[in-house]
Amino acid sequence: MTSLDAATDPQRAVLLGVGNILLTDEGVGVEAVTRFAATHDLPSGLSVLDGGTSAMEMLDDLEDLDLLVVVDCVRVGKPPASVVVLQDDEVPAFFRTRLSPHQVGLSDVFATMLLTGRAPRRIVIVGVQPVEVSTAMGLTAEIEAVMPQVIDAVRRALAEGGYPTQPRKVVAGAH
């Protein structure tokens, strides 16, 4: 009944935002992908997922991917509001060192996918160094200011992975 063999789905990609939107900048990943989906036309095969702080619930969505782009709040020793892109050799460190105090997080999902041979073929992390992670909803002004940069990094990561997206044309007077 169980299949240990990698599935042969058509190629697909996921843009995943993770974090807690009740902790200001901690929610930057969720906020970024929500805005991205609202302002871009997505090619077929690409889906956008608001993962919040969940874990194994995401397994189905993240298996056998051609490309996974994760947007998350990261601490990489850069000044607050820095935007970083981690890929290739830097990705295992993202999962292996602390992802968060949330140990049952993305790292467990990733470990599970490695064990079953269903991990994404390519992973890119777009990380944002937070300014503040206090209990409140909404991003700080400093992070708001770099959101265009985050969106741009996401668009580039998707395009380089074979999933080009276009900003949606806003029809004048549509509002």
Binding site: M1, T2, S3, L4, V18, G19, N20, I21, L22, L23, E26, D50, G51, G52, T53, S54, A55, M56, E57, M58, L59, D60, D72, C73, V74, R75, V76, G77, A93, F94, F95, R96, T97, R98, L99, S100, P101, H102, Q103, V104, G105, S107, D108, F110, A111, T112, L114, L115, T116, G117, G127, P130, V133, T135, A136, M137
Partner: protein, 570 residues
């Protein structure tokens, strides 16, 4: 000689928990449980529309999203004295039960099993013998020699590539690991199969909740699922038939694999029925309401005093005054202040969330958790409390599965294992599996009830709420996977004036209360053996048996530190 061990954070759990123990002659003599994250979500809710609270509270935690959504709408409905349509009740029940089944399977196989199962040791197993053993215990189709060989090959490939390190804090080769290689192999095979099976539960939540991980369909007054038997994009018969098929697959796995494995593992660790007892005052809520008002429930709940099933006080309805008046929270050892002083204990309607951080003080404040009590007593909540109250209430399916499990352990271990063994570390795992079997049966029953009600012509799913002027107070409870959850709301002129969540892990992971009585984790750790202070696997076994979920959790990635999971033995 007294030795102090600090585990910070405890891994393979949700959220940030620190546990400190003092060890004397290889045994824990004193324990501290400390929630390391401030959870001030209640303050975010003040001034907002009560109809939005469920969507915000389900962001408190990544594992318990649906449970906060459900509990929040129940609290607001209670404040408005609002009944909800029967269909809405059934749809919520299906989501609750599918989520619980998912949560229990994942907790056991993917988070806790590594405390008991040595993955590396499974490489020494003979797949033929493993298959013969597994087939003698269960009719499950995934116990073939072919399957076990395939799994053994897969692990050996995985270990050979050095990737095992991604499983944080797996204590491979620890002297406290006692399973024979064949049983380890069976457990690893079922770990992989559980990954497949959990999808079915997740799909049920996703179809009925419109989305996962955060459901979209609940509303104060019912659910937002339009019902139609012939239209797309709504709850159609076709979708409901798919749900029924997934329920069938879950039933097969839970009864023929999960329940069996817990019995087998328990039989190989009989000494763990004597550790981890702790608090035996049990509190669980009734759940799975069968009427529009919440006065009849499929699964009973209440309070069992002193581990004695004869001392049972049921909770009768969503409006139960006994429950409402029994809960309060102290902060003497928590990083908060109350206007009424250090020794005050406040009812949630009067609850205050005012942070006051000090350092970790052994005899002073040391946790972000408050200390809840029920009629002035600390409680244990969770699957064991649920099973104890359902047994006390004479719930037939619970009695049947509990008896079956105890008989299985007795027969494999060759010793008589009675109900008293349940008040223990391994007993909590057994109770979770027993509860899961009861819940998967109930899932099928709720499906039947929904179909029958729809067939009778009832298509209603929502009663619109109205908010009168003035103040209303309401509470909602829900028997979540980790135990009783309650939300408490004070509404003033249609806006939230106060909101408090009393979550299961707060009951269990509480610090000492204002009368110096330890919380459930702290009490259960005393007397635990610790063979090797540098690898305190035994402490983790007892803590993990509660399935900690320290909701809230910061999710910040840190690449600056190589090792952030610290075990300090000083």
């Amino acid at each position: 000689m007294t030795q102090r061990i600090t585990i910070d954070p405890v891994t393979r759990i949700e959220g940030h928990l620190r546990v400190d123990v003092e060890v004397d002659d290889g045994q824990v003599s004193k324990a501290w449980s400390s929630g390391q994250m401030y959870r001030g979500v209640e303050n975010i809710l003040i001034g907002r529309d009560p109809r939005d609270a469920w969507a915000i509270t389900q962001r408190i935690c990544g594992v318990c999203t649906t449970v906060h959504a459900i509990c929040s709408v129940r609290a607001v409905e209670n404040a408005l004295d609002l009944e909800i349509p029967l269909n809405a009740q059934y749809i919520r029940n299906l989501i609750i039960l599918a989520h619980a089944v998912h949560d229990h399977i994942v907790h056991f196989y993917h988070l806790s099993a590594l405390d008991w199962v040595d993955v590396v040791n499974a490489l020494k197993a003979d797949p033929d013998k493993a298959s013969a053993l597994a087939e003698s215990l269960s009719t499950w189709s995934g116990n073939s020699r072919h399957e076990f060989r395939k799994v053994k090959d897969r692990i050996s490939g995985f270990v050979a590539t050095g990737q095992l390190g991604i499983f944080t804090n797996g204590y491979w080769g620890h002297p406290a690991m006692k399973l024979p290689p064949e049983v380890n192999l069976i457990a690893v095979a079922h770990y992989l199969q559980a990954l497949e099976v959990q999808r079915h539960a997740n799909k049920i939540v996703s179809i009925l909740g419109s989305k996962t991980p955060h459901i979209q369909n609940v509303a104060v007054g019912g659910v937002a699922n339009p019902i139609a038997t012939d239209s797309q994009a709504v709850l159609t018969m076709e979708r409901l038939m798919a749900v029924r098929e997934w329920i069938g697959k879950l039933e097969d796995f839970v009864k023929n694999v999960y329940l069996v494995d817990v019995g087998v593992i328990g039989a190989f660790y009989p000494e763990w029925t004597t550790y981890g007892r702790g608090i035996v005052d049990y509190l669980a809520s009734p759940d799975i309401p069968l009427d529009t008002k919440g006065t009849r429930f499929a699964l009973p709940g209440g309070y069992v005093a002193n581990g004695d099933l004869g001392q049972y006080t049921p909770i009768g309805s969503f409006a139960d005054a006994g429950f409402r008046d029994g809960v309060s929270e102290a902060i003497k050892h928590s990083w908060y202040t109350y206007k009424g002083g250090e020794n005050a204990s406040l009812h949630p309607y009067e609850g205050e969330t005012t942070p006051h951080y000090t350092d970790f003080q052994d005899d002073g404040k040391y946790s972000w958790m408050k200390s809840p009590t029920y009629y002035d007593k600390p409680m244990q909540v969770g699957p064991l409390a649920r099973v104890m109250t359902m047994l006390a209430a004479g719930h037939e399916p619970t009695t049947r599965y509990a008896t079956e499990t105890l008989n299985r352990v007795s027969s494999i271990a060759g010793i008589e294992v009675g109900l008293d063994a349940m008040h223990s570390t391994i007993g909590r795992h057994a109770a979770r599996a027993i509860s899961c079997a009861v819940q998967v049966d109930e899932l099928a029953k709720q499906w039947d009830l929904l179909i029958a009600n729809m067939a009778s012509g009832d298509k209603s799913t929502f009663n619109a709420p109205t908010f009168p002027r003035g103040e209303q107070r309401g509470f909602g409870f829900h028997e979540a996977p980790r135990g009783i959850l309650s939300h408490w709301v004070v509404i003033d002129n249609g806006k939230i004036k106060n909101y408090q969540c009393v979550v299961p892990t707060t009951w269990n992971a509480a610090p000492r209360d204002n009368k110096e009585r330890p919380g459930a984790y702290e009490a259960s750790l005393v007397g635990n053996p610790v063979a090797d202070p540098d690898q305190p696997l035994e402490v983790l076994r007892t803590v993990h048996s509660f399935d900690p979920c320290l909701a809230c959790a910061v999710h910040v990635l840190d690449t600056e530190h190589n090792q952030v999971v610290q075990v300090k033995a000083a």
